[in-house]
């Protein structure tokens, strides 16, 4: 049992959460058994994955990218592995088949 967690006296009454929006402190990435991996070469930046992700774990990052065939993008798409639970919806929806689900190995 973890000794860092608060005791019954320290927890707010009824487990009420007093700090709005503090769910970001609860990292859910370790729930994952498969991790989505985006192939930046195949990705067409359609943002379907960003729209479909039920946990807002797809990030649009300001990282210009030039594919080997010479196509240029002003941004890239990345997965936030702190929160991605590995549901695989992004991989399923990706029209370019640019997302692979890779088994997590501990």
């Amino acid at each position: 049992m973890s000794s860092e967690l608060p005791t019954w006296k320290e927890i707010p009454i009824a487990g009420t959460i007093l700090e709005p929006g503090n769910s970001v402190k609860y990292k859910t990435g370790d729930w994952r058994t498969f991790r989505p991996v985006i192939d930046q070469e195949k990705c067409v930046r359609c943002l379907f994955c960003w729209a479909y992700c039920p946990d807002a774990a797809v990030k649009i990052v300001e990282k210009p990218y030039r594919t080997q065939s010479g196509r240029e993008y002003q941004f890239s798409v990345e997965i936030d592995y702190d929160y991605c639970k590995g549901c695989g919806i992004c991989a399923n929806e990706c029209p370019a088949k640019a997302i692979q689900m890779v088994e997590e190995v501990k």
Binding site: S2, W8, I11, P12, I13, A14, G15, T16, I17
Partner: protein, 403 residues
């Protein structure tokens, strides 16, 4: 020096006494659904609201589940909240009973106790309220309309105490009390009552300026600690109930101890019960005393938290304790809920009375002084013969006899 309280002596049944107490407690929100024999509590409150005597919101709902849910919401928003029900209504609320206590909301509810269906009975026993035993509500049983009035006022003080913050249930006999008129002293002016239970602003409530999340999911590493808070709150409630009884007695001159006794000091046999039937029991004690029987009566007023200190203190000198329960825990060898509770206490005592568990008054089967006398005589005989039954006696069932 506090100003003297002026009382008005009114003929009221327990339902109306409760309605008066709700008015005098300046309740903000009432949500309830009608069910016999509770209905007239809320009818009377509606009347008070319509007449402008109580400034409260009455929420009409389509079921008891919704009634208590509305109470949960209103209480979470910081309102002083009241509801009332009975029998099947309390059963339909059952899920929300745990949410009200788990969210630590100081809701007050009265129960005009009624036997559970099936078969349908609109009449009294305590099986409804006993089913709610483990819902973490402070629970009181009262024996007169006056006590009902006074207890509802006390209930708000107990529920809203920052060391408690648990909902409180006040139960009394359906029909026998809910529909029987007694003289009741109600405050001429509610001001002293309202001063006794000022509305506190020191609990966490829903407030857009200070957003909180109530009732989030608690993962296995959190849930247990949060439920343990309720264990501690109940321990605090035991203290706060007694403090409130003292404060109430000091201010208003009426005292209702958590355990009341009658002619028990030199008794060898004690009979314990709760609710209206305690009146019959006291009459029975007088009759038996006049015949030379060394008997006394005990009334249990507080059920949760269980007043184990006062119960032990009251019964330790007895040779035999007869516990007359008005509910059945089916399949249990000791089927009376209060009898079972007391027997579990006595396990740790080296000197203890014999205990006889008796079920009486189920579905408002009449219980008279003579019943108590016969039960006591049977108990005395069995005590003499050293054969106190190790299982509950079902008194008054046709086809079952004891000798």
């Amino acid at each position: 020096m506090m100003p003297e309280v002026r009382w008005r002596r009114l003929p009221l049944n327990a339902n109306y006494a409760v309605a008066h107490a709700v008015k005098d407690s300046d309740v903000d929100v009432v949500a309830a659904y009608p069910i016999t024999p509770q209905t007239t509590v809320v009818e009377k409150i509606s009347e008070f609201i319509a007449n402008g005597e109580l400034d409260a919101e009455m929420i009409h709902v389509e079921s008891e589940h919704s009634a208590l849910s509305a109470c949960v919401g209103a209480s979470a928003a910081g309102a002083r909240v009241f509801t009332a029900t009975a029998a099947q209504g309390l059963e339909l609320m059952h899920e929300i009973l745990h949410i009200a206590s788990g969210l630590r909301l100081p809701i007050v509810m009265t129960i005009a106790t009624r036997a559970l269906s099936a078969p349908i009975s609109i009449w009294c026993d305590y099986s409804d309220v006993m089913n709610a035993r483990d819902a973490s509500w402070v629970t009181m049983f009262v024996s007169s309309a006056q006590e009902a009035y006074d207890s509802v006022i006390q209930a708000f003080k107990i529920a809203e105490h920052p060391d408690v913050l648990l909902p409180v249930m006040v139960a009394y006999d359906g029909f026998i009390m809910s529909h029987t008129y007694e003289p009741v002293l109600v405050a001429e002016d509610p001001a002293p009552i309202r001063e006794f239970i000022p509305k506190r602003r020191d609990r966490i409530v829903l407030d857009p300026e200070k957003p909180v999340t109530m009732g989030p999911i608690a993962m296995p590493e959190w849930y247990y600690e949060i439920k343990y808070q309720q264990v501690e709150a109940m321990k605090n409630a035991y203290r706060v109930v007694k403090e409130t009884i003292d404060e109430f007695a000091k201010r208003f001159g009426r005292r209702y101890p958590v355990v009341e006794t009658y002619r028990l000091e030199d008794a060898e046999i004690g009979i314990l019960t709760y609710g209206a039937i305690y009146g019959t029991l006291r009459e029975a004690i007088d009759i038996m005393r006049s015949k030379g029987m060394k008997v006394g009566a005990i009334k249990l007023r507080l059920w949760r938290p269980f007043p184990y200190e006062e119960v032990l203190q009251a019964i330790k000198h007895l040779k035999l304790l007869i516990v007359a329960d008005r509910a059945i825990s089916y399949g249990a060898r000791i089927a009376g809920p209060v009898a079972l509770e007391i027997m579990s206490l006595l396990l740790y005592e080296s000197e203890r009375p014999e205990v006889m568990s008796v079920v009486i008054g189920i579905g408002q089967r009449t219980v008279t002084e003579e019943d108590f006398e016969q039960i006591a005589k049977l108990g005395a005989k069995w005590l003499e013969e050293k054969r106190i039954p190790r299982e509950t006696i079902y008194w008054g069932v046709r086809g079952v006899t004891y000798a």
